[in-house]
Amino acid sequence: MNIGTRKILDRSFTAVGIGSIIVMAFALMVVVVPIVSNGIGAVFFTGTVEHRKMLRNEFQRGNVEHLASGVASSERYRARVYEILGTFEAELERMEPEKKRAYTSKYSQTRTALQALLGPLPGDRAPMLTRFKYGQTRWEKAGEKLHDLLYESKWDNSNAEIMGKEYFVSRATAFEGTSLAPLFPYIKGNIEKMLLPEFTVYWGFITDSSVDSHFFGGIWPEIQGTFFLAMGAMLFAFPLGVIAAVYFTEYARPGFLNSMLRSANSTLAGVPSIVFGMFGLAFFINTLKVSESKSVLAGSLTLAIMILPTIIRAAEEAILAVPKTYREASLSLGSTKWNTIATVILPAALPGILTGGVISLGRAAGETAPIIFTAAVSVGSAIGLADVLSSPTPALSWNIYNLASEHEAAAQIRHVQYGMVLALVTIVLLLNLSAIVLRARISKKLKA
C-alpha cells in the first residue's frame, strides 16, 4: 500500500473511534433531552381554570377569590354555549324521526367532545370518576380536544394495499343549517375566555398523591416508595458488602475457596434482573414468607442481593487503594488487626466505599424487574414507615411502565409519565453525579 492510503486509513480509523464516542454522547442526548423537556411540563405548564377548580376541590389549595372570579368570567362565556345546546336539543325534538336519528348520534359525539373540553354540562349527571368532573386542565391538551370537537376523524381504508389513512371532517359542515352550527365558530373564537389559560407552576406534582389513577395530582407515593425500596436495599446490602469486602481484602488467603467466592460474586453480578425478581418471589415470599404477598421488605431484600456484588467490588477497590503504609504505621503502634481496620483503613477507604454505595443506591432506585413480583403495585397511596414490613408500594420505575403500557388512557397522561421518568432519571443521575464528584475529589486529595 502506498503511504497516502495508509495515512487515509489511519485518519479514518481515528474518525471512527471519535465518531462512536460522539454517537454515544448523541444517544445520551437523544434520550435525555425529550425526557427533560417534556418532563418539566409536568410541573411548569399553562393551566386552565379547570386545573384551578380541580386543585381547590381535590387538594383545598389555591386562591378562592381568584378562582371564583375566574369561574364567574368563564361561565359568562360558557352560558352562550349552553344556550346553543339547549336550542339545538329543542330543535332535535321537533325533527322528523329519520333526520332525528341521524343527528342524535352525531350530536352525542359532539357533546362528549365538549364535555372533554369544558367539563360536565348543565343537566349532566354528576360523574363517578374524578377525571370526568373537570374539563381540560392543561392548555395544550385543550387545543387537542378543541380539534376533536371541531373535526370528526375518519379512516380511509379504500386502498387495501397500504395502511388506512386518517382524515378529518368538519363538524360545522355536518350541522350546517341547524341551530348548532354557530357553536363551532363561537367555541373556536372564545376558547381562551372559557378556559382562562395561565402559566402555572405545580410543585404539587412532586408532593401530592395521585387522584383517579394519575389523571390529576402528583407522584409522591411513587417517590416515597422508590426511596423506601432503595434505602431498604442499602440497609441490608451496604453493611454486608463492606464486611465481605474487608474479608476479601484483609483476611482471605488465596486458594480454591477464595476463588470460588469470587466467582460466586461475579456470577451474582451477571444474573439477569428479572431472575432476581423470580427468586425474590420464590424465596422471600413463597418460602420464607417474610410477608403475605408483595411488600417493601421483600422488594428491598431482592434489590439488596442484586446490588451486593457492586458494593463488594467498590468497597474492595477502595480498601485496596488505601496505602500500605497506614497499615504498617498502625500495627507498629501496637494496634490489633481488627483495630487497624476499624480505625485507620475503613475511614481512609470511606469516600471510595461511599461512592460505590451511592451508585448502587441509584441502581436500586432505577431497577424495575426485581420489584415487579416482590414489591410494586400500580395504584396506591403513600405508605407509612410502619407498613414497610407488610404492604407493597407504588414505585417510580414500575409506575412508569404501568402508566405507559397498561393504563387505560396512556396517551392522555403522557405529561405524568414524562414527569415520572424525569423524576427517576434526575434522582439516579444526581446520585451518579455526586459519586463522580466525590471520586474526583478523592483522586485530587490523594495526589496532593
Binding site: 503504609t325 504498617e328 504505621a329 507498629s332 503502634l333 501496637g334 494496634s335 483495630n339
Partner: protein
C-alpha cells in the same frame, strides 16, 4: 566462619568504644535485643542467615549494607512487622528483654507497643496532628482528654516538633512538610512509650535540612531509648550511632563499635564497602 566472626563481634560491642565527643549512657549497655542463629525466610529463600548479635540498651545501633542485604528484614523482625508477609517465617531465636519474640505465648500486639517503628516514608494517618499522636494512647485505653493532651505535648516536645505545630494541632497532618511529617511519626511512636525505637531508613525520603533535624533528634533520644537505625548513608551511620552492624547478602559480616568499624574494620568485605569499592 560466620559464627566465629559473630562471636568475636559480640565481644566488641560489649565494651563500646566511644570517641571523646560521645558520652557513655548511664544505666545503659545491658543486652536488650539478642539474636542467636536467627534466620528469616521468604518461602524457601533465606533472606537473613543465622545472625547472632547483641543490641545494647539505650545506645544507638546502625545497620548498614547494600540494598537487598536483609538489613530492613532483620529490623522488621524485631517487632514482627514481617508477619504481614504470609510466606515469611523464622528459625533460631530472637530475644527481647530475655523473652523470645517468636515464642509460642508472645502477643505481637503487646510486643509492638514495646518496640516502636518509624518507616522509610513518613506515613501519618489522614487525621489531625493531635489524633495522629493520640492514636496509640487511645488504642491502649487512654480516653481522658487532659491526659491525652499531656501525652501529645510531651511526645511532640520529645520529637522536637512541638514549637512548629503547637498552634495547629487540629489541622490535617498531611499538610506538614516531609521532614515535619517524619518527626511527627517519631512523636507518634514515642507516645506509646516504647523501649526500643526501630528506624527504617527514616531520612531516605527527606532533603538534607530535614535529615539533619532527624539526626539531631536521634541524638536527643539516645540515652532514653534503645535505637536501631537502618541506613544507606554511611556518613549518617558514623554520625549518629554508637555501634554498627554491616550486613551483606543476609549475613551479618561485622558488628563493632562505630568508631572502630569505620576506622579499623576487621573484615576485608566491610572495608571494601565503607571505602566505596561496591555498594
Amino acid at each position: 566462619m560466620i559464627t566465629s566472626e559473630s562471636v568475636s563481634t559480640k565481644k566488641a560491642t560489649r565494651d563500646i568504644y566511644l570517641p571523646p565527643e560521645r558520652k557513655t549512657v548511664e544505666g545503659g549497655g545491658k543486652s536488650h535485643v539478642v539474636a542467636k542463629d536467627f534466620s528469616i525466610y521468604y518461602g524457601e529463600f533465606e533472606a537473613v542467615k543465622r545472625v547472632s548479635a547483641d543490641i545494647l540498651s539505650k545506645y544507638v545501633t546502625a545497620i548498614i549494607g547494600p540494598s537487598g542485604c536483609g538489613k530492613s528484614t532483620f529490623l522488621r523482625a524485631i517487632n514482627r512487622m514481617n508477619d504481614l508477609i504470609p510466606s515469611c517465617h523464622t528459625s533460631g531465636s530472637l530475644l527481647f528483654d530475655g523473652e523470645d519474640v517468636y515464642g509460642k505465648y508472645t502477643d505481637e500486639v503487646l510486643l509492638r507497643k514495646k518496640v516502636g517503628m518509624v518507616f522509610q516514608k513518613p506515613n501519618p494517618f489522614p487525621k489531625s496532628i493531635f489524633d495522629n499522636i493520640a492514636y496509640g494512647p487511645r488504642l491502649h485505653g487512654m480516653s481522658d482528654k487532659k491526659k491525652l493532651m499531656e501525652v501529645v505535648e510531651r511526645s511532640l516536645r520529645k520529637a522536637a516538633i512541638w514549637d512548629e505545630v503547637c498552634d495547629r494541632l487540629d489541622k490535617n497532618a498531611l499538610g506538614l512538610s516531609g521532614g515535619q511529617q517524619q518527626r511527627l511519626c517519631v512523636a507518634r511512636t514515642l507516645a506509646v512509650e516504647p523501649e526500643v525505637l526501630l528506624l527504617d531508613e527514616p531520612t531516605s525520603a527527606l532533603d538534607p535540612k530535614a535529615t539533619a533535624k532527624i539526626e539531631d533528634l536521634i541524638q536527643e533520644l539516645r540515652g532514653s531509648y534503645t535505637i536501631m537505625i537502618v541506613t544507606h548513608n554511611m556518613q549518617q551511620a558514623s554520625r549518629v550511632s554508637d555501634s554498627t552492624m554491616f550486613f551483606y547478602e543476609g549475613v551479618l559480616v561485622e558488628h563493632a563499635a562505630t568508631a572502630q568499624l569505620f576506622t579499623n574494620p576487621k573484615d576485608p568485605m566491610t572495608e571494601d564497602y565503607i571505602t566505596g569499592r561496591f555498594s
